[in-house]
Amino acid sequence: MMSPRKNRIAFLIALFVLVISFGYLLAVQFEPTINQAYVVPDQNVELVEIMKGLELENAKSVERIVALRSRLNELESKAAATSDEVRLLTQRLQEDRAAAGLSDVAGEGVIVTLGDSTRTPTLSDDANYYVIHDGYLRMMVNLMRRYGASAIAINDQRVLANSPIVCAGPIILVNSSKMSPPYVIRALGEPEALFRGISQDVFFKILTVYRDQFGITCSIQKDVQIAIPASLDNRALKYTKGAR
């Protein structure tokens, strides 16, 4: 049995040590929250500035492309008025442009909408089932091609044969353009064939299971008037030349 005095000292030492470790844990536990909320590394600030600058440049370039294209159209239609031969060539050029995805198109087809779940997964759930992945978009685009789509766009981006669809953390890049859900995928083609083909495909059925179980958005509808924007990438085929 310890004397009361010894007991008192032992208590104070023990209390001191434990309270120190308690305080340490407390500070460590608070630290990540503080870091996330207030401290942004210097490097990031710089990168964000660079990114903002590039985005602005991009937006200006898009405007310029649109303006130059309408000017080109004007000149072409003026030239077409001069002779039948030029008119024929211009017409051919426009057809080729449409086939290459370089002009706006419209017509009947289907619209598929995919979106992330509104539910928040708990710690024991696999969060992957609650979001739309880049692979889903690639699969959907492939399905549309399989059932005869002639022009496809995801949100405002035209999808050409060589358009990249890649994952970049919480967002998806289509033609290097940032996309966030909901992803609206439009396809021109025979509506009935597209609708039946896609909605009866195994992949679409899996997505509907995810929709029922995890709450993602997944729907398909036919439409008679779908507008699909032109590709902004004039030089998508810059390394392709005809073999002689």
């Binding site: 023990a14 209390l15 434990l18 309270v19 305080g23 844990l25 500070a27 536990q29 710690l123």
Partner: protein, 113 residues
């Protein structure tokens, strides 16, 4: 004296934690929170024991360590099983903290009087 030691230790610990933090991944921070709760309960239990002259350093230390560990483990196990088992730790340690504080309050009030 007890209050002085507690406050000093807490301040020292927090300063050490701010100056030399160990990075805890976000998924484990919940378990550290549970361990903190258990630790708080142990410290209050120790103060109560001291005031009632029944303090035992061994019980104090082992209680702090084992309770913290078990609380964190319980939380982890619950997540693995898909049940919110950490609630058990929260309820038990939470209510015990209140009880300990009540006892401490009473002892201190009697002393004052």
């Amino acid at each position: 004296m007890v209050g002085f030691v507690t406050v000093c230790g807490l301040v020292l610990g927090i300063i050490a934690g701010v100056l030399h933090p160990v990075h805890i991944p976000a998924i484990y921070s919940k378990y550290v929170g549970l361990a903190l709760l258990a630790g708080m309960d142990s410290i209050l239990g120790g103060i109560k024991g001291y005031l009632k002259d029944s303090f035992d350093a061994t019980v104090f230390f082992s209680g702090f360590l084992i309770n913290s560990l078990i609380a964190a483990l319980l939380g982890y196990l619950g997540d693995q099983l898909g049940i919110d088992l950490y609630l058990a730790a929260v309820v038990v340690f939470g209510s015990r903290m209140f009880q300990n504080i009540a006892v401490i309050r009473r002892v201190l009030l009697k002393k004052e009087a």
